[in-house]
Amino acid sequence: MHNLRPTPMMKRSLAIAALGLFLSACADDKPLNTFEDRGPRAKQLNDLMYPWIWGIMALVFVLVVFGGIALTIKNRVAPEDFDPDDLPEQVHGNPKLEWGWTAVPAVILAVISIPTIITIWSLEETNDERNADSTTLCDGPLDVMVIGQQWWWEYRYDTNCNGFFEDVNGDGVVDDTDKEWPLEIALDDDDLVVANQLVIPTGEQVDLIITSRDVIHSYWIPRLNGKRDAVPGRIHTWNIEADAPGEYNGWCTEYCGLSHARMRMSAVALTPAEFQDWLAEQTAPADIPNEEADHLAWEGRQLFQNNCASCHVVTEDENDPDDVAFDYGQDFEASLAARAAPNLTHFASRTVFAGAIFSQYRGVDADDDDLFTKLGLTDDDPANDIPYTELGESGLQLNEVQLRRWISNAPSMKAMDPDNLLGMPAFPQLTEEDLEALVAYLETLD
């Protein structure tokens, strides 16, 4: 049993989580609803359709469906009234009429196509074009690199202002010759790397630079914009923009194998000032738990380095290149499928984990309908004997049960195939105490 030191960052995250819960509550509990746009891009999509285009469609629907039904009812002849010699007038057609109903839909569609095409091009506008005067990062608007992999998302922020790619061959420019698998062009590992929760500032367009490490995925935060595929070997740009702070959920929408249904995303929008704070905290290296003061976490760190660091990165000293525990350039075979695992340097500052399917914190009274209960982890679960860590005034508790179960047997919570290098393996050898220590360590990573 140990105590957490709630940092400002953590409080903020929790506030975000609470806000997210609140927002989704007032949003009719449909966090992915495409009609409830929360940013100008998503609004643009709805404005394109509503009211005119949806209206035209409704009209065609009514005309054809109800027209058809009405004609059927009006012209039907009951079997007993059927007279083979009583034929209706034999109309063979009416070219004028037919040309008419060829032309009218054509005209309607031609008209519809105008705003459609305008919107297509408008959606391609970059943030340099739309908020040129922004100075969010590197004296410009924010770009975030989004990398999909089976079955979670990685986000990179160009915090060293070098661009997202490394000048591998050292010729002074980053171009096609700087190739490295898994990405077409080698990634700049000095950038800020976070996983599973995208954080953006409100009120400005954020450009997403999307790619994938393995198969095709698709990035989609419905309230902020439509989707765009993450295709390995290709880099696609897309953008999102949120009007107000809050948590916006998304779901991977290109079938990507076994756990496609368990690959979601969470985007958190902060006010620009808070966003800068967040950036500052994220770029700092992780705290190293003190052997005396926080012995449990210190033990956890040892365990972590023995069991987990082969895949997960925790940056403890930003100047130490060896911190990058898993350099996926090193081992093509091992990196083939799983490739990489979420960067955990500031794990505890996120509100979600594992492809954004679990929350790290649970509302005290939210257990009635969250995934926790649905997964069969009732309060009678022996794992629950470990009391929740108190989290001060926030009213939220660490979702320790799921976190522990995740560490000891992740494939039981999310379909994965560790034998084929897909996903995180189970660690049956870890004892209850080990798990407790690991969780304690992870909690210090805020």
Binding site: K30, L32, F35, I69, P88, G226
Partner: protein, 658 residues
């Protein structure tokens, strides 16, 4: 094959009854001794059509069972009825089976049965190849479905995007089965297309000009052209995948620089024509059914024809609308968005012309007609949602959600399947000599309409509320519970409705038999096209005398004379005009073992590619033997044919047995 034999629909085949009334059958052709052998070796387009239909019905049960499993899993959030892997297999196999083994073969069934009859031909151009097409399709389909027992079905989705379909990400054999099974079935589609196009273009009765062909013939012609040109594209995609998975090639190896979009382009260049070739035969069917039961000609025949042709053409220019979010540039997206929208124009012409045919008609609302009108209304709903996808920006919200699932079930089920069931009720008496029960038919229809809309209607809402497709589960908190539950309930009503087609066939057959097999007559519906001008069931030789055609709906015009402008008077009944079915000296192609034998070599080769290349040896030997046997066997010569002797006697026995 057991399938076919056990299928209640397959038993009461035309010939027996017919021959009973013309005991000598007049044309003493070599006949197989037993019923089973007859079915296995026949080259008669009508029997082949019936076999296509029966096989499709069988696969419908498999595809439907998979769909029901999906719906049970999705009925409640976080359900554990199916594991993630089982679910992925279920929807992949559901989509694949429904598209390739249900809808396409039903189209082939109608095409086979009806094309020669409607153009006044004796058979298709190449009867043995016709049999070959069927058997290849069947063996490909069966092979695909053996994957259920041999390590699990395919799990890559029905369009099976690269690189997820590669050996690294999908190590099980499921995708190999998908690949090889469909390659094999594709051979059948291709040979079928060549055959049927040749038949339509080249074997029309005298006077049957192109612009006098029934709309169904036209739509099937367009369909076969789509197949002819689309199948090779899929074949190439699948061969690339085969080379990758089974022979170590690297077409989709991204680390070597491959572009995964190549697969998408190839698949959808095939895939979009594919969806139109699934709907056009159904359009053709309702274009026959509606005029018949409205008792007036199809409104605007030339427009119906040309809009079908236009759909066929335009279908080639829109494939990338499935790739709006795949990362094409904005110019491509704009162009494909624009092109896609305009497909609504020819389709709209069809819908409105059907409505205009209903206008002022005197409608007999029997089951066939109800399903036809069902198509007009339900398909339109799917078409409209299609247009909303065509608007690319809004598709970025819709794609890969249940809104798409709703769209394509409305067009595929509410369009294609409704049309096919309409055709089934309509032509059943022609094929089997009795009508399907109307009472059960009405139940069939209403159960399906209700179930269908309950199942797929809510999916529009789900999709727009953000539920992505291909999700084996969803959370409570997402707000998807209610409509998923409704859809699941609906799917069971729909399943009962669909099963009722079979139930009705069985019940009607029993009743007909109990009544002593009354003759339904050549022209039970007061039909318009040539197939009604011969006896029911259609005699094996089709026409005693080749009909001379002088007009569109020639048969109808023989029955009715125009008295004053637009007014018609009946001058004869169909029964009076119909050919008696006792054709003299008609020479028919002989049945053959070789089509089924040659086809049977394909799955052997297929299993060989998947499991052990050694199997290729017997497979290729079989194939060579089949080719040579086929080539050496005269197509229709009784005397050289080794099973051609003494069949007159067998024929009598066969007749006696019935």
């Amino acid at each position: 094959m057991a399938v076919i034999e056990n299928n209640p629909m397959a038993l009461p085949v035309g010939e027996s009854a017919n021959r009973a009334s013309n005991p000598l059958g007049v044309f003493a052709r070599p006949r197989a001794v037993t019923g089973l052998k007859d079915w296995l070796t026949t080259v008669d387009h009508k029997k082949i059509g019936i076999m296509y239909g029966s096989a499709a019905m069988f696969f419908l049960l498999i595809g439907g069972a998979a769909a029901l499993a999906l719906r049970i899993q999705l009925a409640t959030p976080n359900s554990s009825f199916l594991s993630a892997d089982a679910y992925n297999q279920a929807f992949t196999m559901h989509g694949t089976v429904m598209v390739f083994l249900v809808v396409m073969p039903i189209g082939a069934a109608f095409a086979n049965y009806l094309l020669p009859l409607q153009v006044g031909a004796r058979d298709v151009a190449f009867p043995r190849i016709n049999a070959f097409s069927f058997w290849v399709f069947l063996f490909g389909g069966l092979m695909l479905n053996t994957s259920w027992f041999l390590g699990g079905g395919a799990n890559g989705g029905w369009f099976n995007y690269a690189p997820n379909n590669g050996i690294i990400y999908s190590p099980s054999h499921g995708i190999d089965f998908w690949n090889v099974g469909l390659l094999i079935a594709g051979i059948g589609s291709l040979t079928g297309a060549v055959n049927l196009i040749t038949t339509v273009l080249n074997m029309r009765a005298p006077g049957m000009t192109l612009m006098r062909m029934p709309v169904f013939v036209w739509m099937t012609l367009v369909t076969q052209f789509l197949l002819l040109f689309a199948i090779p594209v899929l074949t190439v995609a699948q061969i690339l995948l085969l080379m990758d998975r089974n022979f170590g090639a690297s077409f989709f190896a991204v680390d070597l620089g491959a572009d995964p979009l190549l697969w998408q382009h190839l698949f959808w260049i095939f895939g979009h024509p594919e969806v139109y070739l699934m709907i056009l035969p159904a359009f053709g069917i309702v274009s026959e059914v509606i005029p018949t039961f409205a008792r007036k000609p199809i409104f605007g025949y030339p427009f119906m024809v040309f809009s079908g042709v236009a759909i066929g053409f335009m279908g080639w220019g829109v494939w990338a609308h499935h790739m709006f979010v795949s990362g094409l540039g904005p110019l491509s997206v704009s162009a494909f968005s624009f092109a896609t929208m305009f497909i609504a124009v020819p389709t709209g012409v069809k819908v409105l012309n059907w409505l205009a045919t209903l206008w002022g008609g005197k409608l007999t609302l029997n089951t066939a007609m109800l399903f036809a009108i069902g198509l007009v209304t339900q398909f339109t709903i799917g078409g409209i949602s299609g247009v909303s996808h065509a608007i690319a920006p809004s598709d970025t919200q819709q794609t890969d959600t249940y809104y798409i699932v709703a769209h394509f079930h409305y067009v595929l089920f509410g369009g294609a399947l409704f049309g096919f069931i309409s055709g089934l009720y309509f032509w059943w008496p022609k094929a089997f000599g009795y009508k399907l029960n109307e009472g059960h038919g009405k139940f069939n229809f209403w159960a399906m309409v209700l179930g269908f809309n309950l199942t797929f209607g809510p999916m529009h809402i789900l999709g727009l509320q953000g539920m992505p497709r291909r999700m084996h589960t969803y959370d409570d908190a997402m707000g998807f519970n209610l409509w998923n539950f409704v859809a699941s309930i609906g799917s069971f009503i729909l399943a009962i409705g669909t099963l009722w087609v079979l139930v009705n066939a069985f019940i009607s057959y029993r009743a007909w038999k109990a009544e002593g097999r009354p003759d339904v007559g050549p022209d039970p519906w007061d039909g318009r096209t040539l197939e009604w001008a011969i006896q029911s069931p259609a005699p094996e030789h089709n026409f005693d005398v080749t009909p001379q055609v002088t007009a569109l709906d020639d048969f109808w015009h023989q029955k009715y004379n125009e008295v004053e402008h637009g007014k018609l008077k009946r001058v004869a009944t169909g029964a009076e005009l119909a050919q008696p079915g006792n054709g003299e000296g008609v020479h028919l192609p002989a049945p053959s073992y070789w089509p089924i034998f040659l086809s049977a070599s394909m799955p052997v080769i297929g299993y060989g590619v998947i499991f052990s290349l050694w199997l290729l040896v017997p497979g290729l030997l079989m194939m060579t033997a089949g080719l040579f046997g086929w080539a050496l066997e005269p197509a229709d010569d009784l005397d050289i044919d080794d099973h051609g002797h003494g069949h007159d006697a067998d024929d009598h026995e066969l007749v006696g047995a019935h």
